[in-house]
Symmetry: C2
Subunit: 243 residues, 2 copies
């Protein structure tokens, strides 16, 4: 079907290339949001935290635009097989990046009440978790950009480190809470913030699975050994004798 | 384009009807998972909790099948405009239901360590939150099945009640934690469980937005007044004097 419209529509490959570029940019935005959120936690800067929260709208907007581009691409091209797989992967990756942005905004949101409470030592631990998550997201975006399934699989495996770090941090926070009830409110915020960062890692692994599927046409084994042990029965936490 | 294949392919409307039916069934499964999760919390039944966690695989499997059906529908039919909107809505709703199932499984997962700790009074409060979430999901599925935009909008509005209930429960849990450090570990599990239930409500509102869009072609206003105030600065919690 060749119409005059073809002259103003870019080639399918060009469209897909542009879509990939949009997604990688959107991903980089979401990573910077997480970095900014951690920065405002450290600086205890309420005003900057609100800016990070507001910036999430730009990522949501991009996700909407990408969804529209995908619909347009599907409607104009009706792509088949491999091409359809690429377009679907783009749609799912966009949704994952949007969630990553949401989680980063959630971290920034809780930085606001946290900045109004007396500082607690474990707040510093958040940056370690975030650095792992930032690294995962950046690497999986690189794997996506290069259609590198093996690189994606490595990122997918590396999420175990973040899960372990989260589990350790969870136990550390509980210990602080037991030592002094004044730590409970700030540490509860930190618990949710840390959980948000751990979830960012899960979305990075989702993206890795999509890259793997897009390149190989096969599913990455879903039975990755999850290391979030905080919902497993825990050994008793030291530091606070049970009275 | 009429080929012999057309004889074995059901009409587009039939396909869409079948897809809707699959989605509603999948949604009902996820609601029952949440009900089962709350039931095991109340019965403190570790074995039953593990069964709920395992059952989540069936929902994940259904989501995969529905995604495949959507791909097939897109590939065979290349639907346009309104039809494409229906197919996209189905895809997004399937993803939301899958997340609801995940959150229900998360609640069941934390019921395991909770059943091994001494009982705490606020555990009963979880059922109240869950009842609101179950109601929201069932109603939004009904709205989807009937393509009833106004009903969807009502569900979307009603999520404010769940947000308020979550905020109240959050404060109650913090109070318990401050009263006795032995409450900290079980109440931390309850915090995450309650947050999972609150998130189920957010996914019900996502589904409502998709139903609205599917029927009207317009976006439901995204600026719904969120009532999760737990990440806002809190007034001091009574019951524990600051020492």
């Amino acid at each position: 079907m060749s119409t005059s419209k073809d002259h103003i529509i870019k080639s399918y490959d060009d469209e897909l290339e542009r879509l990939t570029g949009e997604l990688v940019r959107m991903g980089e935005l979401s990573v910077r949001q997480l970095e900014a959120a951690i920065d405002v936690v450290e600086r205890r800067d309420e005003r900057a935290a609100r800016r990070v929260v507001d910036n999430d709208d730009a990522i949501d907007q991009l996700e909407q635009e990408i969804s529209h581009d995908v619909v347009r691409l599907l409607a104009l091209r009706a792509p088949m097989a491999g091409d359809l797989r690429n377009v679907f992967a783009a749609l799912r990756i966009a949704a994952d990046i949007e969630r990553i942005g949401d989680y980063a905004a959630n971290v920034a949101k809780r930085a606001i009440p946290l900045s109004m409470l007396a500082p607690v030592a474990p707040a510093n631990g958040l940056a370690t978790l975030a650095a792992l998550a930032v690294d995962e997201v950046r690497e999986v975006l690189r794997a996506y950009r290069n259609r590198d399934a093996e690189h994606a699989r490595q990122v997918w495996e590396s999420d175990a480190r973040l899960d372990e770090a989260w589990t350790g941090y969870f136990r550390q926070l509980l210990t602080y809470m037991m030592e002094d009830p004044r730590n409970i409110t700030p540490c509860t915020h930190l618990l949710f913030m840390a959980k948000n960062i751990e979830r960012i890692g899960d979305h990075a692994t989702n993206i890795a699975e999509n890259v793997w599927f897009q390149v190989t046409g096969e599913q990455l084994d879903k039975q990755r050994n999850k290391r979030d042990l905080t919902s497993e029965p825990q050994p008793p936490i030291p530091g606070k004798p049970r009275t």
